[in-house]
């Protein structure tokens, strides 16, 4: 594989950029693989990469219905953080933070990881107490957390509404300085390029039609490009998990819902952190191009539409304007929607299933992007070793029936209100 560097850039510039190698090939599927990963999104591509890199399993295919990176890894708001209270979520995400910090070097692809810090605003004394508890839990797990008072927040984001007579005054906030953002598409492309170079077949425009199962063992898949055999198959299909589960006669603790995001017209640099509104559900950062990147609540009813509805967007942006009044002057550039695999406790599932050789990676709700490297790393381990790694032991499929839920928000099973 051709290494990307300033020297290769200069060399190719002299040749008119006509001799670059393709970043990944377009192979026809073989009849059999050691492992098939269904879903060519961030998690699927990362899984294939870590299967090859960490476990030396390179006879791997990624089967993608559309094109790689065309789902949620291309539709998110690029936020990376590990500001969780529960041990399972905190330790898993913090492991991921280490992978993020080294990702550009590891993949030889600039993923533009920008640890600019995230601030969760608090709007009451009670919320400050909750945040100090969460911050302390984070620090016990080795995650950086700083509790900010009103004046400290004002120094960082003076453009927020600090007037006295607002409905939700800013009391302070919880900051994770090491959190940040990354270039989402580059993450998919970087993993794809490295996986391809180690022998993984990336098969796009190939839909999974069914599964071949005999005596409780997986034998292979049926696709629009023919049947493919494999003893181990991993599902990484996020919002399409329920559709494939139906083909497997499985019911899962997951519902599929729609989340919207949007960007404003580009403006000069004003916001150099990620900031979330604490009295509702709104988050905001500024992209390198200058757009304000914003998101918030789910549309609120089961949906596979991949496009949103205006009342939710209006509601979310009303919260945004309450936090940052200057947003009201901006024109909207783009809005879009993605379908989320909302689990019943808000935490993901990375586990084996009752079918031997079938592995499940789903339930990321709307926190899937930041989990991309850790999810791929632990899922690769789960598939290769046929048992979960200690980092994803808690993300078991049977925790719902055994009562070991990881309910970070304490919202219960109403997935559409989270």
């Amino acid at each position: 594989m051709q290494k990307y560097s300033v020297f290769s850039l200069i060399k190719n510039a002299f040749k008119g950029h006509k001799d670059w190698e393709v970043a990944w090939k377009d192979p026809t599927p073989k009849s059999e693989y050691d492992v098939i990963i269904i879903g060519g999104g961030g998690h699927g591509l990362a899984t294939a990469y870590y299967l090859a890199k960490e476990h030396n399993i390179t006879k791997v295919a990624i089967i993608e219905k559309g094109w790689i990176g065309g789902g949620n890894v291309g539709r998110n708001t690029t936020i990376i953080r590990s500001n969780y209270m529960h041990d399972e979520n905190g330790l898993f995400s913090e492991f991921g933070m280490d992978l993020w910090r080294n990702m550009s070097q590891d993949l030889n692809f600039n993923v533009m990881f920008s640890p600019r810090g995230i601030i969760n605003l608090a709007h009451s004394d009670a919320q400050m107490n909750v945040y100090s508890r969460r911050g302390n839990s984070m620090r016990l797990n080795g995650i950086d957390a700083v509790l900010l008072n009103r004046e400290e927040v004002r120094k960082i984001i003076p453009m927020a509404d600090f007037s006295e007579n607002v409905r939700f005054p800013i009391f302070g906030g919880l900051m994770q300085p090491s959190a940040g953002t990354a270039r989402h598409d580059a993450v998919a492309w970087g993993y794809a390029r490295q996986a391809d170079s180690m022998g993984v077949d990336i098969i796009q425009n190939c839909e999974v039609i069914g599964f071949d199962i005999s005596n409780g063992k997986i034998l292979g898949i049926r696709t629009s490009k023919g049947n493919i055999k494999a003893k181990k198959i991993g599902l990484c299909v996020a919002g399409s998990t329920n559709i494939l589960a139906e083909k497997l006669n499985m019911e899962l603790p997951i519902e599929t819902h729609l989340l919207q995001a949007c960007v404003s017209e580009p403006i000069k640099p004003i916001l150099d952190n990620v900031v979330t509104f604490g009295a509702g559900h709104f988050y905001c950062s500024q992209s390198d191009k200058g757009e304000m990147v914003m998101g918030g609540d789910l549309d609120g009813y089961n949906s596979y539409a991949q496009r949103g509805n205006l009342p939710t967007l209006q509601h979310v942006l009303t919260e945004g304007i309450a936090m940052f009044p200057f947003l009201s002057k901006l024109k909207m550039l783009r809005t879009w929607g993605g379908i989320m695999d909302m689990s019943m406790d808000g935490s993901p599932i990375i586990d084996k299933t009752h079918i031997e050789g079938l592995y499940l990676n789903c339930g990321w709700c709307y926190g899937g992007f930041k989990a991309t490297p850790a999810s791929g790393w632990t899922f690769a381990h789960t598939i290769a070793q046929d048992r979960p790694h200690e980092l994803n032991e808690g993300y078991s499929l049977n925790r719902f029936s055994t009562g070991h839920l990881i309910d970070e928000k304490g919202l219960g099973t109403k997935t559409w209100i989270s």
Partner: protein, 88 residues
């Protein structure tokens, strides 16, 4: 904007309603032996189909009645609406 025909009040915008989830889920009957699996099915497991979905909505800013709505989860087309105690 979805427009939902409340069986009690007529056609109203979605913003008057609150969502209540899958209407096909049945609570295990009282005073009967209920297995863990039955509880699991009721509390956690969902089909979440792509296509026709029978779901509960509450007309919270109107008559406050719970209703059933049959809606397509891909196109958002609404086929039928029913009172909560009616079945398709």
């Amino acid at each position: 904007m979805l427009y939902i025909k409340c069986p009690h009040c007529g056609l109203r915008p979605q913003t008057e309603f609150s969502y209540g989830g899958d209407a096909t889920v049945k609570r295990p009957e009282l005073n009967k032996e209920v297995s863990d699996q039955d509880w699991d099915n009721f509390v956690y497991l969902r089909k979440s189909p792509r296509g026709k979905h029978l779901e509960l909505w509450q007309h919270i800013s109107g008559c406050r009645q719970w209703i059933k709505v049959e809606r397509d989860t891909l196109t958002h087309e609404i086929f039928t609406t029913l009172k909560a105690n009616e079945n398709i």
